[in-house]
């Protein structure tokens, strides 16, 4: 039995397996299947200052090796998230470790949400994940994650607004993801998570219309994994802060690959839709892998790439 604890400096997790924001609801949706407190953490769906409707439908389309989505960050807003039993109060009763994904349409809004979460629930929240990479909303999201100056503004604003540990979720839709990781580190982010979905499009050839009402969406699933592995390795070489690797993880072997590339922890996303039990299988696989390879701690895996 290897030591599965992972250290992010300002916080520790019982194991390196999380569930990615946007693929796990607010946690309770999956607590009907298993005890979600067994996970390293759950990253809940993006929260902003006010409720938001999200995009028109259809919002999802299946493609080879994964799917496209353009949900558009539908959500209850911070007030309801903090006080309604379907959200944070209910999830905390499960004993789960909660990381809250936050977004806004301006840097000030990001900061406002962060400050509010800290003021009202700092003991219930392990960290905040700053979403500067959603490709499916016009203002906010990717606009901040693909412009170095805007990224700096948002991350700094959140940093100044809260003492909670910060994770910056990076967009793969840039020329150099390492540049954005360096910005996050310089602005005081305690960690980076990558990758968000790849901007993509699918067309129904019979109707000659895009399969998503939003026209474009984010590609996720096993098709993106090699891209994500390359990016995690690039970022690992560029920054000192710990990395949460994600992008197409379907099983334990995929997760181990991310850790070898440089990730301290991983998050399961689209695979939750296929099989809700994947995150638990990943935890077991990592444990067995460490035993087989004589590793006493899972931290030995991080960045253990030999060439």
């Amino acid at each position: 039995m290897a030591d599965l604890k992972v250290d992010f400096g300002k916080f520790q997790l019982k194991n390196p397996v999380m569930t990615a924001s946007g693929t796990f609801g607010y946690g309770l949706e999956y607590s009907q299947f298993y005890d979600i407190s067994k996970l390293g953490a759950i990253m809940v769906k993006g929260i902003r200052s006010v409720p938001s409707d999200g995009n028109p439908t259809p919002r999802v389309a299946e493609v080879t090796g994964g799917m496209l989505n353009a949900i558009g960050l539908q959500g209850p807003g911070v007030e309801k998230f903090l006080h309604d039993e379907h959200y944070l109060p209910g999830v905390k009763k499960t004993g789960a470790t909660v990381i809250v994904n936050i977004w806004g349409k301006t840097a000030e809004e990001y900061a406002e949400v962060a400050a509010r979460l800290e003021a009202e629930a700092k003991n219930d929240i392990t960290a905040l994940e700053i979403n500067i990479s959603c490709p499916n909303v016009k203002a906010g999201g990717a606009a901040f994650g693909t412009d170095p100056k805007l990224a700096e503004q948002v991350i700094s604003a959140v940093r100044n607004a809260t003492a909670l540990p910060l994770i910056t979720k990076l967009s793969p839709n840039v020329t150099s993801i390492a540049e954005f990781a360096r910005i996050a580190e310089a602005c005081g982010s305690d960690s980076v998570s990558l990758i968000n979905t790849l901007s993509a499009m699918a067309i129904d050839i019979e109707t000659r219309r895009t399969k998503l009402a939003n026209r474009t969406g984010g590609l996720s699933g096993p098709a993106v994994k090699p891209v994500a592995i390359r990016m995690v390795n690039e970022v690992y070489k560029a920054v000192k802060i710990p990395i949460i690797g994600k992008g197409g993880i379907c099983n334990g072997a995929d997760a181990v690959e991310f850790m070898i590339a440089g990730a301290t922890a991983v998050a399961v996303g689209t695979a939750n839709f296929v099989d809700p039990y994947v995150p638990l299988q990943v935890i077991d696989f990592i444990n067995d892998y460490c035993d087989r390879h004589g590793m006493k701690s899972v931290s030995e895996l991080t960045g253990s790439l030999l060439n």
């Binding site: 949706e29 439908t57 919002r59």
Partner: protein, 259 residues
Amino acid sequence: MPNCTLISNERMHGQYFRAVFDAPEIATDATPGQFVHIRIDNRLDQMLRRPFSIHNALDGKLTIVYKVVGKGTQTFSELPAGSVCDILGPCGKGFSAPAGDVIPVAVCGGYGAAATFMLTRQSKNGGVLLLGARNEKDILLTQEYARAGFQVKVATDDGSMGIKGRVTDLFPELLKEYQGKKLFFYGCGPHPMLMALAKLLREKSLDGELSVDHIMCCGVGACFGCVVKVNDHAHPGEWMYARSCADGPVFKLADIYTE
């Protein structure tokens, strides 16, 4: 999340199939209008689960009646008896059981009739199936409903079976025949049909529940992919999105938003 063995998977006619699974856990809990979310195979071009209305759940067996509409259902229709499928369910909110002395009226389009069938077992007062479809080839399950004690009325667009017209065109005859009786309506079918039904029920001050859905992904309320517009009761006249997989697929008539 049980792995269930396919007992049979047979073509009814045309593109319509009936699959029966040995699924005791799901069959025990299932109520009319709920669905199961089936992982059809491990192919990379169809990773996601497919939702199917529960047609029947009895004696440990789960029956679904489906139409081949795309590659997922095509693959599913080719699975032989003995195949094992990973099935999530029963999922979603189903129809409420007919209460007291009401007579349930299922108003369905095509294979939407699969989703309301279990109401026949819950009703103590019989019931009615109003079934509409493009033509007689898209009419199914009428004999099963009749055997279960439901009166069946059919409408087809081309008049090849029943009256020529829409399923809503069966209402004048129904309301005349059941004058003075307490009716409660259960709708399942294509979206435009359901919207027309919702408007008609409101016009006539009748009540019911409608099964409304959209392309699904997770099936458990996590991804917000399958949302449909429902009335936002806090802001009259406005709509909000609800998850058809978890908040529905069955919604009360009062919640159904019609443009």
